[in-house]
Structures are given as C-alpha cells and as structure tokens.
Symmetry: C2
Subunit: 345 residues, 2 copies
Amino acid sequence: RKSLTIGLIPADGIGKEVIPAARTAIEALGSDIPTPKFVDLVAGFEAFTRTGVALPEETVEVLKNECDCALFGSVSSPSKKVVGYSSPIVALRKILDLYANIRPVLSVSPNPNESSKVDMIVVRENTECLYVKQEQQTVGEHGKEARATRLITERASTRIGKMAFELALARPRKHLTVIHKSNVLSVTDGLFRESVRAVPLRDPRFEAVTVAEQLVDSAVYRLFREPQIYDVMVAPNLYGDILSDAAAALVGSLGVVPSVNAGDDFVMGEPVHGSAPDIYGQGIANPVASIRSAALMLRHLGYADAAKRIDNAVDSVLREGQLLTPDLGGSAKTAEVTETITKRI
Amino acid sequence: RKSLTIGLIPADGIGKEVIPAARTAIEALGSDIPTPKFVDLVAGFEAFTRTGVALPEETVEVLKNECDCALFGSVSSPSKKVVGYSSPIVALRKILDLYANIRPVLSVSPNPNESSKVDMIVVRENTECLYVKQEQQTVGEHGKEARATRLITERASTRIGKMAFELALARPRKHLTVIHKSNVLSVTDGLFRESVRAVPLRDPRFEAVTVAEQLVDSAVYRLFREPQIYDVMVAPNLYGDILSDAAAALVGSLGVVPSVNAGDDFVMGEPVHGSAPDIYGQGIANPVASIRSAALMLRHLGYADAAKRIDNAVDSVLREGQLLTPDLGGSAKTAEVTETITKRI
Ligand SMILES: CC(C)[C@H](C(=O)O)[C@@H](O)C(=O)O
Ligand SMILES: CC(C)[C@H](C(=O)O)[C@@H](O)C(=O)O
C-alpha cells in the first residue's frame, strides 16, 4: 500500500467530536503507516432526520470501493418509534460482513481506588442473533403481539469462535470463556456453544487454549465480582453488547473502551460508547475510546508498531492522571487531551 | 385461611440446603400466619436424570389444587445438550401464569467497604420473550441454522407494567425505569416500551410515578456506575434475568437476593442464586436469599407483619456481620445462620 484510505463516519452527537480526534492521532504517525487519505462519510439518526436516509448508498459504496478501513463514531437512538428508521451501524456491520466485534477492556487505573486490574477482550458475534431484525407485529385476541427471530448459524458461530481462539492463543493466559444461555435456549445457544467448542478439533494449535463456559446472567455477575477470571470471552451478538458495556463499567468509563468491527476484507474502528446527547457540544467528550479504536484498526491491518505508538501515548496520559475528561473525574477538554496524546505519539 | 399450604420444591444442589432453612424460618412465625402445612414436591435436573421427567405432573397438580403458595430452590443446568430436558422453573412460571418475577435488591452493607446503598426492585416479565422456547434447527447451505422466537405481547407487557407501577407507587421515590433495546428491536421492544408507558393513561394514580427509560446495555453500565439512579426497573424476561444478577453483584452476593414469581392467583418464592454445584454438600450455602424469598411470598399473600419479622431478623444478623457464610466473606454454616435468624424471628 502506498496510501491508506480511511472512511470517517462520525454520525451523531459526540461521534462528531471524537472521530476528528482519532484522525489527528493517525496523522501524527508520519511514515509509520502509508500516507493516510481521509474520506468524510454520512450516516446516522441526524442524517435520517435531515434527509430521510440513515445510511446513504453512497457511504456504503465508497466504503466498499475506495476505503481500506473506516472509523465510525456513534449513533443516537430515537426516543420514540420512528417509522422507516433503522440503525446504520447495525446495517453496516451486516453489509460489510464485519462478523467480529472485538472489544478489549483494559484498566489503566487512572483512579487509584480501582485496584483490580481488568484485562480482557470481549469477542462479540456481529451479524446475527436478534440483530437480524426480523420482526413482525400482528393483532391477536388480547391485543398486539410482536415476534422477533433470533438466528444463530453454525457458520457464523464457527468463524467467531475461530477469531476468539486466535485472539486467546496470542495472549499470555490463553483462556477462553464461551458465553451462552443454553439452559433456556438449548437449540440456538446450544448450536453456538457446540460450534465454538468444535473449533479446536479442526485446528490443533488451539488445544493450547483452555476453555470455560458461563451462562450470560452469571457471567455478568462474576464479571463484577471476579473480573480477573476472564481473559477472552466469546458471545452471541446481544450478550456481547451487554457484556462489553458491563466490562466497560469496571475500567472507569465507557469513554476509554475501543472496538473494531472486523471481517475478512475490511475493518472498522468504533468507540463502544454512544452519542451521549447530554454532553454533546461542550467539547468534553473523552477522545480515548476513538483514538484507541484507530490503533486497534491499524493493528488489525498489520501496522502493529503504529498502533503501539498510539496506545503508549494514551496509556502515559491516562496513567499520569493529570489530563482527564469529566467521565474519568477530571475537567480536561477533548481538544486538550487529544493534543497531548498526539504530541506524545 | 385456617392453614397455609406451602409447596416446597428444593430441586437441585444447594436448593436442597436452603429451602429447609426457609421452612424453619416460616415455622418460627407462630400465630402470625395461619398454621403452615408443607408439601414436599419433586422437580429438577437430578429428578430428570433419575426418572426422565424434570417436572412431574403430580408436582404441578398439587401446586394447582392443594397449595396456597410455594418455595422453589434452584435447578442445575446440564453441561452438555440433553435430549428431552427442559428447565422446570421456566415451565412452572408459565404453567402457573406467574407473570411477574419481582427481585428486590437491597444492600445491608455487611461489608464496610461497600459504601453505595443499593435499594431497587427488578420487575422481570416472566412468561415470554425468548423464554417461550420456540426453537427450530434446520440445515442450510453453510451448515446448521437455528432460530428462536422472541415473543412480546401487549397483554403481558401491560400487566407487568401495571405491577411495576404499583410497586413504584408504594415506594418513597416512586421512580420507574423501563428497560428495552428498541434501537435494535423496534417492533418487539417498541411494543414493550409503549405498553408499559401507556399504563398510567388508564390509571391516573400512576401519574405520581416518574418514568425513565434505559437501553439494556447502558442500563447494566449505569447500574454499576450509579446504582442510586434506580428505584424500580421493569424489563422483558431475558434482560430482567441479566439485570437482576448484575444488581446482585452490587450487594455482596447472589446469596442474599430473594424473588417471588407472582401471578394473579399464586405466588412462588425463589432465591435468585443457582444450584451452586461447587459448594453443594458442604453446608455452607447462604440461606438468606431463600429466607427472604419466604418473607416476600408472605408479604405478597398479605402477611406483612410476618414478613417484616423475618426481614428484621435477617437484617440484624447481616448488619452485625458476625455470622456470615463464605459468599459474604465469613465462615459460618447454613445451619448456624438459619438458627440465629430463626431465634430472632
Ligand atoms: C447503537 C446500538 C445499535 C449498538 C449495538 O447494540 O450494537 C451499540 O450499543 C453498540 O454496542 O455498538
Ligand atoms: C435457571 C434459569 C432457567 C433461570 C432463568 O433464566 O430464569 C435463572 O437464571 C433465574 O434467574 O431464575
């Protein structure tokens, strides 16, 4: 690659404040990566309100045909049911077949009261489960009845399982916890569990990984009581959504937790936090999650040194604890934090 | 009522240790309640292993025809897929139409490090959502495909909404948080949310309750960061399952969190914890969740004074912090804790 074309989709709310911060961090890398070219792309609930389209076709086409990777900000959720609106991030994950949502949760302990070191990766299946959005409403004898389909396939469970085993294998502890609720969903979660557990049978490298299982309810309970039992967790889509927010609560703030949506051909970084309408516009959103998402995206593309430079800069700022946004108990602005991180890259 | 017939279904694991403890506590009440008559009933995974039946018809018939209420222990989950097995607790909730699972989570702070006082009730819809267990597996082009139906009806959402508004109205803060994920499940969770929000339109008493909403993922996050924002939470079945375990993590142990499964005609107490095979047989299971479940059951039947006597006895023992089971950091046995609580009733 001579240059790296990066789609930027800030979408709604603080996404518009933190994606530019991530861009600044990438620009600071200089020759460690091919010259970055940024393409601004539209999507989101605000776009929907303005134009009637939450995910313009042009955005999808440019991502598919021109971009090597992308960064997505955050979407607002309508506070009432809005006819015709459907979440663009859920759609993008599916359209680009970004089947793995990888969410490393790591405490850097800027807060000295946070003793227990958290260091885990939530690997979330990203294309199916209740996110297939097959829903119908009918009217029965006692009023409205709504049904949604939860889809779990062997293929998707196997490929997310492989991804999780790869990630576990690359870590010192090499431990994988499979999350499910097969005591209730014996068929769907039964298939997820079996498919993941069958992965090492076809790839003996993975025998080095120890495997445990947890029901999703008790997984959340134990996450808060004994976070150190987890190394890599693999989960169907919705459980992964909940578990990654739960894990984020352990490390001080959602504002520091990054993710990538990864497929075989494309990768899209995305902070785990939402659009935070309550703080949007004040310039106080934490840019760390987005900057770390950029690093994660670059690592996924093979630029490990560049990623490490970003992560080291972020870690040093958090560890010093002098320049923190309000979500971490400080009073720093997005711009100040971004500037300091960028200088240290 | 001259007498109170109480079905006892210890089921599996520590259920067999804690349900007898709850019985002892009820017996200590003397004339504050009608003379209790206990009926021992069979259900569970162990019963299934022994007899091929997880929930004998006799158990259901006796509960329906002879019992005024019941106490259920806990069920073990098979560690592999077992043909023909289906969870008896899920079945009982449906068969007896126990549509509300009411889970008060209250910190008594036996642990001085636990500062934030938690005082909330998770009101979980108990008959539908993915718990309808309509699952199919087919074989497609890329292997097995499994589908589950998630059912949300206006009727069930409205009645659980009413129950939640009633409970909120009876509390000092009168605050209700509706949990959903309507940004993804706009039809099913849209119906849940609308049905709950419509409840005060038909009953102006409920206008005194303030209503908020939270997406389930961020609800779990905020539960850990700011538990004090919650008073009563109402949620579809699966979210309620996860949220109540999450809330339990805040108060020291699942071993202190009680619940009732309540319908219009029947109520069944049930500790929120599972069968804990790792500690079963050692006599160290915490009896508090079951004893509190008995109190909750009695309160639901109208015996508020009797319930209060049990709760006060439990609270005083926990507050002193001298006699705690290992889950709370102590070394007391089930029998000792039960005996001391019973004496104070
Ligand atoms: C915004 C929403 C659709 C999304 C999800 O549920 O996946 C978000 O919560 C996330 O975790 O990325
Ligand atoms: C044992 C299991 C079927 C049950 C549930 O999911 O409802 C349990 O987790 C609970 O919370 O009572």
